[in-house]
């Protein structure tokens, strides 16, 4: 899987989980401010990403994640997908 493909998959899962239109889920979108996601929404989205991609994302690593782009990067790093 290459980066654009990963990004579009992650965005689709995030849109589904946060119940927002896919068009709003852009790399710059901030979870809290732009997508109205609370901390449990975010954990649920991470659980869905873990399930989809077969990766484990520890709590510490979720902490700095504020934007969709950062989430994509995190999943990419877990999967060894480069830009």
């Amino acid at each position: 899987m290459d980066m654009p493909e990963l990004e579009s998959k992650v965005c689709k899962i995030l849109a589904e989980n946060l119940s927002v239109p896919e068009s709003q889920v852009t790399p710059k979108a901030r979870f809290q401010e732009d997508l109205d996601a609370d901390s449990l929404d975010l954990v649920e989205a991470v659980l869905a990403l873990e399930e989809e991609f077969g990766v484990t994302i520890p709590e510490e690593e979720m902490e700095g994640v504020q934007t969709v782009g950062q989430a994509v990067q995190l999943v990419a790093s877990k999967m060894g997908v480069g830009a």
């Binding site: 449990l40 649920e44 659980l47």
Partner: protein
Amino acid sequence: MPEGERTVALVTGASRGIGSATCLALARTGLAVAVGYRSDPEGAEETVAKARADGGTAIAVSIDVRDEVSVDGAFGRVEAELGRVRVLVNNAGYTRDGLAVKYATEQWDATVETNLTGAFLCTRRALPGMLKARWGRIVNVASAAALRGNAGQAAYSASKAGLVGLTKSLAREVGGRGITVNAVCPGFVHTRMTEPQSEESRQRYLEMTPAGRFGTPEEVASVIACLAGPEAGYVNGAVVSVDGGLTA
């Protein structure tokens, strides 16, 4: 409850006593029940046989709640054989009475790890599936000792009070997702756990209990089954005493 899906329950510490009675009560309401046991597979199989004789679905599953690997393995087996756990009853419990001034650190740890950490480990493993389903029931078996102190039970009562705190915080964390988390607090119930109690101590409990008798595992089980049922969806974070009035 998810439509058209058989609801799966896991009860820890269910080879005998309150846990076993809870399995039978849940199986009677149509749930597929995983009977969790630690050291007594025969007891668990007896519970399974009774549930099946009643027309229910049940399997026995080995689970030591103090051991994360065992917890994960048990949930994996239940998922493979019955489906994802929608009802979790954290019933496994341990107590060894003794005055705090002479209480061994190992006993303290064993008590807290079983009664409190064990419930946390099982809950954490169960939650992703419940969150995804937007439905779940967690019932924590605490104790009257969580609500009133008992000389000789500092560790037990601290662990059970901790379990009540866990119950209430979790109720707030996941209550918006169709998941309820409640605690029941049994008083003095006839099980192996209360066998070591001295005649004097029994007499004292009896005098403090307005019902004038001890409880049965079935009386606790029916309250747990009620909290685990589809109709208890608006009961969340509650601490329900089943103690014949002991803490009234």
